[in-house]
């Protein structure tokens, strides 16, 4: 689905994957936000499942990513406002908002900025703050090839680096590298810089009301589960946190453990605790 948003990006096309299904008014909505240097396709399996099981799926390509045109936005706050505008444009009513890595920071900021919009929040592979190593940040500008190799090295569990893939016949690290190569020059740097600069995470977490899933992977070197403690402490007393740690995967868990990620998201989306609007 291709749409135009109002505002300063009105001249640009926004692409949203809907899991090959039409959006229906009487269905709940899941909004999937991808991470740095990626596009909607990182959610291919999970979003397709939701779309074929009674949910509207909105999985946008962020500005400048994938099929969406325009410049990459430069801060998590701008990206969050863009997501809010997108949700309003598509008439998404109280969606489950799911984000991975940078997408998780965006989702967190969306929940803080527009708490009335979000019914449930699922943060996949997140830490707050999310500093980016200077060497990596520099290489996103000066040597993309090196940046992609570093990201892959930190994003995949040892098993995925050389061992078997969860998706038969697919070389997961190469797939990720090609996806990053596909983005326009400057996009990955803008994304990484936005993650690095985002200082509002704890404040945003303190304003979250309602159910929130923190989904981590034990072998994630990019956003390790043990680094989640400050974020957990920052959540407000009214936030209802669910924590799940996948044992085998790394940061790229949607492709490394696609079924486990789906099961965690699906259980969270449909659990009695989260079936209604937050109080």
């Amino acid at each position: 689905m291709r749409i135009n948003l109002s505002g300063h990006l009105s001249d640009h096309i926004t692409f949203c994957h809907t899991g090959s299904q039409r959006l229906e008014r009487d269905r709940p909505t899941a909004l999937f936000i991808h991470g740095a240097g990626h596009d909607h396709s990182v959610w291919a399996l999970q979003s397709r499942y939701f779309a074929h099981h009674g949910w509207n799926v909105i999985a946008p390509d962020l500005p400048g990513h994938g099929r969406s045109s325009g410049p990459a936005l430069e801060s998590i706050e701008e990206l969050a406002n863009w997501i809010i505008a997108l949700a309003h444009k598509l008439g998404a009513e109280r969606p489950l908002v799911v984000g991975h890595s940078m997408g998780a920071l965006i989702a967190l900021q969306v929940a803080a900025t527009a708490p009335e919009l979000v019914s449930r929040l699922a943060l996949v592979g997140v830490v707050v703050p999310m500093p980016v190593a200077p060497a990596l940040l520099d290489s996103t500008l000066s040597n993309r090839e090196k940046a992609h190799a570093l990201i892959n090295q930190w994003s995949f569990a040892p098993r995925s680096q050389i061992g078997a893939s969860s998706i038969p016949g697919i070389n997961l690290t190469a797939l990720n590298e090609r996806l990053m190569q596909r983005q326009a020059p400057g996009v990955l740097h803008a994304d990484m810089a936005a993650c690095n600069a985002y200082a509002g995470g704890f404040e945003a977490a303190s304003r979250v009301r309602g159910p929130c899933l923190l989904l981590s992977s034990a072998q994630d070197r990019m956003t390790p589960p043990k680094a989640l403690t400050p974020l957990v402490q920052a959540f407000g007393s009214e936030a209802r946190l669910t924590r799940t740690v996948l044992p085998e995967a790394g940061h790229a868990m949607m492709s490394e453990a696609p079924g486990q990620v789906l099961d965690a998201l699906w259980a969270f989306a449909n659990s009695p605790q989260t079936s209604g609007p937050p109080t």
Partner: protein, 434 residues
């Protein structure tokens, strides 16, 4: 831009694609002799069928042993994934049928393996797919042969029978300008000598029957996707990948995965409907061979170099076609694109025509007389008395073969034994002529 490798080629050849199974802890890749896989429940079954979950349903479409092979060759070649097929021919056909239907057109190298030439020249036209053949080094000819309906450029890394070296970087530029993918048959080089995807190709096929397996016991083919072709940016040339497919729940493969669209369609349609899948037994045997691929290719190249050096000076030998020789027209290109060696297959021409070729072949004891290449054992064939025996002298010359041409696939035997065998056969030629 090439793909970063997570380990050296010899390490990948031993480990890529496999994790010791968590139940039995077996180190070797198990052979999953099963046609089908038990679903957890109806819901699990439906989600597997609808590509909402990853996993195996039926071994025609995927199999855990085959998946190890697919992921291993993809890791070695720098591809995003691969599909194992029943043969190299099946892999080539799968690539073509995924990209085009009736009305499609291919520009292909004239220096192809006979089986591939037959498919393109005689069989596919019956289904509305035409091919224009161009000499591998005639780059202007490649450009000129591209038509609005052209959907693929295709050549072999090292051609048959003259060992022409395909200028992959140059053809990749031609393909990119025309927004058409370049497919390279890398059977004779294997990832140990050349990775066409690193040089700009988009797709690779291997006859795994040859050097990858190395033992000559299993037929198999592999189709590798570089994930580096922009299907959506091709001006609507590939509707099989960029438009909803009614045959798979309306899936738009390029939307589902802009990078892996080709492999999705090839597996979900091509393997499903044409059914040229690989037996897991063959996959296991090819994997066993691949574990020693690096060591073997070094030895194949070393032995081939020794035999070429021996033959090129021999008074009964008219010429030797081997790109590492300065006399070969592609010598410079080979030095640039094949710095580790030009493989283990070469041909040479005997003085004395058909009779000399037949005498030579019949006197060999270590070399086996048969129609194959890439075995651990040395192989020889005399085209004028076997594969091309009905052809006249002129027709043979048009195909780049003389009446005295002999093709050798140099194996791993002791070099001195191979040289002794060649000398024995050459002596027989001399004796027959006197």
């Amino acid at each position: 831009m090439s793909i970063h490798r997570n380990a050296g080629a010899d390490t990948l050849a031993l480990h890529a694609g496999q994790t010791p199974d968590p139940v039995h802890r077996s180190r070797a890749t198990p052979i999953h002799f099963t046609t089908s896989y038990v679903f957890e429940d109806s819901e699990h079954a439906a989600s597997l069928f609808n590509q909402e979950r990853a996993g195996h349903v039926y071994s025609r479409i995927s199999n855990p042993t085959n998946a190890v092979l697919e992921e291993r060759i993809a890791a070695l070649d720098g591809g995003i994934g691969a599909i194992a097929c029943a043969s190299g021919q099946a892999a080539l056909l799968l690539a073509i049928t995924t990209l085009m239907g009736s009305g499609g057109h291919i520009v292909a190298s004239r220096a192809l393996y006979g089986g591939s030439h037959n498919l393109l020249a005689y069989t596919l036209p019956r289904f509305g797919i035409e091919t224009t053949f161009i000499a591998p080094g005639d780059h202007q000819g490649w450009r000129a042969a591209i038509r609005p309906e052209t959907r693929l450029l295709f050549g072999e890394a090292i051609g048959n029978p003259g060992l022409e070296v395909l200028d992959i970087p140059e053809l990749a530029l031609i393909a990119r300008d025309a927004r058409i993918p370049l497919l390279v048959d890398a059977t004779l080089v294997t990832p140990m000598l050349q990775c066409p995807l690193d040089l700009g190709a988009n797709l690779v096929v291997h006859s795994a029957t040859k050097f990858l397996g190395g033992h000559g016991v299993a037929i198999g083919g592999l189709l590798v996707d570089g994930g580096n072709f922009d299907w959506e940016g091709s001006g609507g040339h590939f509707p099989t990948l960029t438009e909803p497919y009614e045959g798979f729940h309306g899936m738009d493969f390029a939307e589902e995965s802009p990078i892996a669209a080709f492999l999705l369609r090839a597996r979900r349609e091509g393997l499903r409907d044409f059914g040229a899948c690989l037996s897991p037994m063959n996959a296991f045997q090819i994997l066993q061979g691949m574990e020693t691929l690096g060591l073997r290719m070094e030895r194949h190249v070393a032995n081939a170099r020794a035999l070429v050096s021996h033959l090129v000076e021999h008074p009964l030998v008219e010429s030797v076609a081997w790109p590492e020789l300065e006399s070969h027209p592609d010598h410079q290109l080979a030095a640039r694109l094949l710095p580790k060696g030009c493989g283990g297959v070469f041909s040479f021409s005997l003085k004395g025509g058909r009779a000399a070729g037949a005498s030579f072949i019949e006197a060999l004891r270590v070399f086996s007389h048969l129609a194959n290449v890439g075995d651990a054992k040395s192989l020889a064939i005399h085209p004028a008395s076997t594969t091309h025996f009905r052809m006249s002298r002129n027709a043979l010359l048009a195909a780049g073969i003389t009446e005295g041409t002999v093709r050798l696939s140099v194996g791993l035997e002791s070099t001195s034994d191979l040289i002794e065998d060649l000398d024995r056969a050459l002596h027989a030629v001399q004796k027959a002529a006197t």
